[in-house]
């Protein structure tokens, strides 16, 4: 059942703050981040100053202590301005929340204050060259020795992999998927930037190499064998939520650019917006963005209530929002014509960024299988 979520006065204030920050700081830098394939350190400093890197953490550890609907609004607004910035919050939060949920008291006190204030950047290292959706088959290994855990293997497509200080990394330990905290200064650890990606190009991807990489025994997160079933799934739930909200923001950006262009651009002596076929695209875009926003808001509300249904509702929101934004971006380019195919207009970047959302945090096809199977199993 869909619940009606009315934003509180405080949530509306947050929304205004996030919008202003995006308009003033994030959106103006997005084209440069896309071109240079990096987020400027000065921009990350501004995120830290606002406390946004601790947006998903409780105040107890120096975080913002936001409710989940507000966290969603932050990711929507950042996603409206720059998908790469949104991706930083996603993977950083995945690492932070894993420590909050499954870490020991010592681990929480060691890592969370730094992740909350942004003096440490976290990342999520699951994917490998040969392992994507089939995450239980990761080939990286971890062996306990007298010196600690010794890790061997490679991780690929790791968002923020170039700059992270600590990785939530998954390896086979005693033959079972297990989560570890791997600092970037660990002996035997190295990383290589990955460039030339199609979209979300500022997300500073890297390939990680672990060659007899030694980490302290106390960097095991949770228990041996719960890496996927509990740690990763929990992280990916937050990841899917923030990606879905980011898609809403990107869809909103497509709509705003399209409305502006359709109002100003004239053909046959009249604005493009007078054309009914353009109006159809604008209407579909607006309605679908609103629908995706409501699904995200609903999922956020359920997360806030710790409702077990929040997990499937988040899958639903991510599935719809990531599909929606690809259609919205495609139509935005179509409305812009040749201009839309040029980097002079942001919709060209939006279309490249949109595609990535159908692949990360579970492909569209994995969503289709899981959502259907979940319904069938309950029938």
């Amino acid at each position: 059942m869909m619940t009606t979520v009315e934003l509180t006065k405080r949530q509306l204030q947050w929304k205004d703050e996030f919008k202003a920050f995006t308009d003033e700081v994030v959106a103006p830098s997005a084209a440069e981040s896309d071109k240079t394939e990096r987020i400027a350190p000065s921009l990350i400093e501004k995120l830290k100053e606002k406390g946004y890197l601790g947006s998903m953490l409780p105040k107890e550890y120096g975080g913002m202590g936001l409710d989940w609907v507000t966290v969603g609004m932050l990711n929507e607004e950042l996603g409206r301005g720059c998908s790469s910035i949104r991706s930083l919050l996603t993977v950083h939060g995945m690492a932070a929340l894993a420590i909050l949920r499954w870490g020991s008291d010592e681990q929480r006190h060691q890592w969370l204050p730094g992740l909350a204030d942004g003096s440490l950047v976290g990342a999520f290292a699951l994917t490998e060259r040969e392992v994507g959706s089939d995450a239980k088959s990761v080939q990286t290994t971890a062996v306990l020795t007298e010196d600690g855990y010794v890790l061997n293997g490679r991780k690929k497509w790791i968002t923020m992999g170039q700059i992270a200080d600590v990785y939530l990394l998954f390896a086979q330990c005693e033959g079972k998927p297990t989560a570890f905290l791997v600092p970037s200064d660990s002996p035997g650890f190295s990383r290589t930037p990955i460039t030339g990606m199609m979209g979300v190009r500022g997300s500073m991807l890297a390939e990680l190499r672990l060659e007899d990489c030694v980490i302290p025994q106390q960097n095991l997160l949770g228990l041996v064998g719960i890496g996927l079933s509990h740690v990763a799934l929990n992280c990916l739930d937050y990841g899917r939520y923030t990606v879905a909200c980011g898609c809403v923001g990107l869809g909103q950006a497509c709509l705003e650019q399209s409305l502006q262009y359709a109002s100003q651009r004239k053909q046959f002596g009249a604005p493009l917006g007078d054309n009914q076929l353009i109006q159809k695209m604008l209407t579909e875009m607006a309605v679908n963005v609103k629908a995706a926003r409501l699904l995200c808001c609903h999922a956020g509300h359920l997360r806030e209530m710790m409702d077990p249904d929040s997990i499937m509702e988040t899958w639903t929101a991510k599935y719809f929002a990531s599909g929606m934004v690809n259609k919205a971006a495609s139509d935005a380019v179509q409305i812009h014509g040749a201009n839309g195919c040029s980097s002079d207009y942001p919709v060209e970047r939006y279309m490249r960024d949109a595609k990535i959302n159908e692949i990360i945090e579970g492909t569209t096809q994995m969503h289709e299988m899981l959502i259907a199977r979940n319904m069938l199993s309950a029938t």
Partner: protein
């Protein structure tokens, strides 16, 4: 405790509609359990009973049947 048992049963019945779940049935042996269910069960117990399921609690024996879950909740509450 009966009230807790009813709440647990009501939750589990959402996933085990094809089987009439008895208090002592091994829910893992019935074959409907996956990692999504495990995550939902942890969320449900934490929300409904105000307990925190810690690493050391993640022993399948604690969640293997309605009776086992009730005993686990009772232990955590005390």
């Amino acid at each position: 405790m009966n009230e807790a048992k009813d709440r647990i049963k009501a939750f589990l019945n959402r996933f085990f509609r094809k089987a009439e779940l008895q208090d002592h049935d091994d829910i893992f042996a019935l074959g409907y359990v996956n990692s999504l269910f495990a995550m939902q069960l942890v969320m449900f117990l934490e929300k409904e009973f105000g307990v925190r399921v810690d690493n050391k609690d993640l022993d399948m024996k604690n969640f293997s049947s309605i009776n086992a879950i009730c005993e686990f909740i009772e232990r955590k509450a005390s």
